[in-house]
Amino acid sequence: MTSALDRALGARLPAPPEQLRRGPFRRGAFPSPLHSERRAARVGVWLGAAFAICFVTGLISHLVQHPPGWFSWPASPVWLYRFTQGTHVAVGLAAIPLLLVKLWTVYPKLFEWPPAGSPSRLVSRLSILVLVGAGVMQLLTGLINISQWYPFGFFFTVAHYWTGWIAIGAVAVHVGAKAPQIRRGLARRGSPAATAGLSAPQAAELTAVDADAERNPVSRRAFVLATGAGVGAVALTTWGQTVTPLSQVSLLAPRIPGVGPQGVPVNQTAEGAGVTETAVDPAYRLVVDGPERLELTLADLAGFDQYTERLPITCVEGWSSDGEWTGPRLRDVLAAAGIPAGTAVTVESLQTGGLYRVSTVAAPHAASPRTLLALQLSGAPLDLDHGYPARLIAPNRPGVMQTKWITRIAPGTGGIGA
């Protein structure tokens, strides 16, 4: 690191002609003292926390569905995945207003003149493009995905996962790069740390800007209220798809717990899965491919000891809804086929295609007494859309792995969760 490098990075680049400097590019186009380090840093803390939460919960969901050898996801507590995935989507939705407000605080930099005054500014702005591109893309495509609209041209889950790494990396790099500003912005107003690293005139300007923010026509209080009200409004109107007490308030939630066939929402219908004929065919059998091969009719399944469990369907899209499921325990059926307790098994659906036709039931879930081959929901035979004649329902597991219209069980791993 030499001052020669400093000179190269800091050298002046030619500016575009001054006549082009119009609209938001004009000098003084952003007079509000709320465009400050302090506001940017403080909204940034909330937004950074939101991205960190979304990253961790998203990583959990990814690991549950694509577990590497070292990873094991437990069967209890029952509510854990419901909590992590509900949080993932809820926090992601709440991050939309936070991101917009955060970007607003730095509008003067978006419209700075000249657009890149030096090589160092050019590099800096390109790195910000990565941050903004990844951040906005994650929230935008996530929102579009929970509206079950797939105009992307790529597999959402794969792109969302890898872009998530880029987004959290860009956030971390941004925090490191802006460390001096963040340190000043988070320090108490008027404390020495609030002007650390600034010359005396710069420090005086910064102090004056933060003082102005209190008296501005749109004051700091209005700014905080607008941000809080934006986040609160998104939370109230959408979180009810996960937080049941809010379900009647959440007028914009894409799902309502308790609304659907037999009072439970559905993601894939029998029609959509193409099983409307095979599922009601009297020739239906559930094949259990153990040492002792079983071919069970619906009546055979009803002949096992029946248990009722209250378990949630938890969609990766964030919504969840409790159901009262009744049927034989998976482990009893496995034992009848001579499959030793604690063996991981694959379950296959009658549906002929789709990414989630086959799923792996890992050892903790295969052994759990709460994992059922459900034949009934709320005391009535399963609706066709809920997986009639039989479906898997296991505690603490994403909905895409609660295989419906189940027709084959075999030891080993495969499909989603393998």
Binding site: S3, P114, A226
Partner: protein, 177 residues
């Protein structure tokens, strides 16, 4: 020093003076070698770079599941959607508000505009997007367009009342003062 001033720094004379005897240097903080930066930045910079590179590697090796042109379109498009659409619209609305609204009304109007704007953005895919499987009554069970209109109307009603009260108070304070 606001962010706006900082953005103007390349033309700040105080900046050029910081690197003595170098008429071409414009960056006051000497981007490569400044000592004014906290040590903990490296705890963010290095893992952050590693995570970003890992993500890029993952995308590059995802093959047909993530065509890079489609991904790049959404990546750049997302940033440009903000920079070329949302930000200019908001700047334009702010210009109108500063020009036509009495000062005491600006706070309430900004709050109402922020709330109704962000709710509209969130609800838009539910209103305009793919209606989904028509055989699934549990998906998008509400009338989202109507609900959004009702909420936005309520928000502006409150903001309108608040503005009237704020303007009235400011005027009477002026008369009495």
């Amino acid at each position: 020093m606001s962010v706006a001033d900082e953005a103007d720094r390349s033309t700040d004379d105080r900046a050029a003076g910081r690197v003595p005897d170098d008429a071409y240097a414009s960056d006051p903080r000497r981007p490569a070698t400044s000592a004014l930066t906290p040590w903990w930045r490296w705890l963010f910079l290095l893992p952050g770079l590693a995570a970003g590179l890992y993500g890029a590697y993952g995308l590059l090796t995802a093959g047909g599941r993530v065509p890079l042109v489609a991904w790049g379109t959404w990546f750049l498009g997302s940033a440009l959607l903000h920079d070329l659409v949302l930000a200019p619209v908001w700047v334009g609305l702010g210009w109108l508000a500063a020009r036509f609204l009495p000062r005491p009304a600006r706070g309430p109007v900004v709050v109402a505009a922020a709330v109704s704007g962000v709710l509209s953005l969130v609800a838009l895919p539910f209103i305009l997007g793919d209606p989904g499987d028509p055989g699934d009554p549990s998906f998008l069970p509400r009338d989202y367009g109507r609900n959004l209109l009702l909420i936005v109307a309520a928000v502006w009603l409150v903001a309108g009342l608040w503005s009237v009260v704020a303007v009235h108070r400011a005027r009477s304070a002026l008369r009495e003062g």
